[in-house]
């Protein structure tokens, strides 16, 4: 059920820090090998070990700052009883809400409709039944032009970055600014430099490069910078860490955390990477069999005794 781009075993997801793996003793290696043996056995899930590991993961990233979430406010994104079918049902009765400053991670097996939810939020797809509300608007009742306007408040990071390969890095990030703002050239350049610095890229080194000259991780970061260019209220990420090495995965995850904490952006992250999901999400939505079978905090998820949730977590 796992995708090829997912981590193959526990050792791959263990740490972003190469120093951690470099100090492994033979005993630790043996224990890791034992764990790999456990992972291959579908019956050998150890909930306590999984919970402990995840709790450690969550607490490692908790910040002393105030909680960025504002749960008294109205939801920024809300799906109410949404159903969608193509040749077969994709989503059935899906409901959840993301409040200002929250990061909702949508996790689940491949082909369960995770990316479809993001496309519904963007109105790239229209639901057969139910409501998709973005910034207080039922996005499916808007005209095409109104939907284009609402999308200007959203930034999207695509699985494959989706940078325009005919444009330079600078022009890619400047694109939404040229389209929808009245900034002059100097203002645009200043904004592009600012966004590149946010994603830890040196503007002078990368601005004139074309996307094909960048590594996968750099392309993802430029994708994030482009998504942020118009200062959106909402950021949507479709598999932001897929196909990246563990170090770059950690960098991208930290970047999403930084945006959540420093810029209070409301985010929806579609991911296979449960480790990153636990690090960055305020809420986790677990999709299974066309429905959201769990929606709650990472702590609530690890505390759940639901056999499917335990199997799902144990699978990682």
């Amino acid at each position: 059920m796992r995708d090829a781009d997912e981590p193959k075993d526990a050792t791959e997801t263990k740490s972003d820090n190469p120093a951690d793996t470099a100090t492994n003793t033979p005993d630790e290696e043996r224990r890791a090998t034992d764990r790999r043996g456990d992972d291959r056995d579908p019956d050998a899930v150890h909930p306590e070990r999984v919970r402990a590991a995840i709790r450690k993961e969550i607490t490692a990233d908790q910040v002393a700052d105030e909680d960025p979430r504002d749960t008294d406010a109205h939801p920024v994104i809300e799906l109410r009883d949404v159903s969608l079918a193509f040749d077969r049902p994709i989503l059935t009765g899906v409901s959840f809400a993301a409040y200002p400053g929250e990061t909702v991670a949508i996790v689940g097996e491949s082909g369960t409709g995770k990316s479809t939810i993001v496309k519904l939020i963007l109105r790239l797809l229209v639901a057969d039944r139910g409501e998709v509300c973005v910034l207080g608007n039922d996005i499916e009742k808007l005209t095409y032009e109104q939907a284009l306007e609402i999308r200007q408040h959203m930034g999207m990071v695509f699985q494959g970055s989706a940078l325009f390969d005919s444009l330079s890095v600078f022009e890619n990030i400047a694109y939404p600014l040229r389209e929808h703002t009245k900034l002059d050239d100097a203002g645009i350049e200043e904004r592009v430099r600012e966004k590149l610095r946010i994603v830890d890229l040196d503007p002078d080194q990368v601005m004139e490069l074309s996307p094909s000259e960048l590594s996968g991780g750099m392309q993802k970061r430029v994708g994030v910078a482009r998504g942020l260019a118009a200062n959106p209220k909402i950021m949507l990420y479709d598999e932001p860490t897929s196909g990246l090495d563990p170090l770059t995965t950690g960098t991208i995850t930290n970047l999403i955390l930084k945006l959540q904490r420093e810029y209070k952006v409301t985010s929806v992250v579609v991911t296979h990477d449960i480790r990153s999901a636990f690090r960055m999400a305020s809420k986790i939505a677990l999709l299974h069999d066309q429905r959201i079978v769990f929606f709650g905090s990472p702590e609530e998820m690890t505390a759940s005794d639901d056999p499917y949730i335990q199997t799902f977590l144990g699978g990682y």
Binding site: L124, Q152, M154, M156, G160, A162, F164, Y175, A230
Partner: protein, 269 residues
């Protein structure tokens, strides 16, 4: 039953595809007059469609003119009518071969390029990215290509015609030993014999410029339509490219017949 279902599904897909093509054409034309105007994109596409196709169009036009003169000379020599080779070459090039050859060349070179580019953008989610950033992909990608093709195809056709007539001149001079002045006199006789629209514009020119204008629309819209419908990764891009060239070429040849019929009825009635 399964066969019926498959036929039904295939027919439904064709109807939807046709509906999408008309929707695309309507919006692409509508956006010509709607802000924002992507002037830089139009100029870039005029360069890609027009300037970069010059070589291939001049070459095909020149050699087609030479072949026309050579073939007709063989027949005309029997009747001692070789002096009329200029008439034949110019009539054939301006009315038919110029527009059709330029159309087919551009369909092959530019149509496939447009389909591949837009198809690649589709499969790498760049079209979705445009949508997400509040840009209509038809306005940004299709309309500039449509405008560029509508303007550049007639220009390329005129160049193709001239190259063809020059090609005929080379054969007339060096193979048939005809004086150049006589060749060009017969060319002008032919152009003027078809009559004039508004006293000054030869009917043959109207024939020759209406057709490429329509062919430009056919090539750009067909390529964008198949490009935007691309699915299935890089293999899908290849399929879209092939479909574009085949469909655009067939549409050019079929439409050419109906335009000729219509123009003959209008201009010679």
């Amino acid at each position: 039953m399964a066969l019926l279902q498959r036929i039904n599904a295939a027919a439904r897909d064709k109807v939807f595809s046709l509906q999408e093509a008309f929707f695309l054409a309507w919006n692409a034309f509508r956006f010509i007059f709607a802000r924002p105007f992507y002037k830089e994109d139009v100029i870039q596409q005029m360069d890609a469609i027009g300037v970069q196709s010059l070589g291939i169009v001049v070459l095909t036009g020149f050699f087609t003119g030479m072949v026309l003169a050579l073939q007709s000379a063989v027949q005309m020599q029997r009747f001692g009518a070789t002096s009329y080779v200029g008439s034949l070459v110019s009539a054939s090039m301006i009315r038919e071969l110029g527009p059709v050859l330029a159309g087919l060349m551009v369909a092959g070179r530019v149509g496939s390029g447009i389909a591949a580019q837009i198809g690649s953008m589709r499969v790498t989610e760049q079209i979705d990215a445009l949508n997400v950033m509040g840009t209509d992909p038809i306005k940004k990608l299709v309309t500039p290509r449509l405008i560029a093709a509508l303007l550049m195809l007639p220009a390329l056709t005129v160049i193709n015609d001239v190259a063809g007539i020059f090609g005929g001149n080379v054969i007339a001079k060096y193979y048939l030993q005809l004086p150049t002045s006589l060749y060009w006199a017969t060319v002008w006789d032919q152009i003027s014999s078809g009559g004039f629209v508004l006293r000054f514009i030869p009917n043959d020119f109207v024939h020759g410029l209406v057709k490429p204008f329509i062919f430009g629309g056919i090539i750009s819209l067909t390529a964008c339509h198949f490009g935007l419908r691309t699915t299935g990764g890089t293999e899908g891009v290849g399929v879209s490219t092939t479909r574009t060239v085949v469909t655009a070429s067939i549409l050019i040849l079929v439409t050419d017949y109906f335009i000729t019929q219509a123009l003959l009825a209008l201009l010679h009635s």
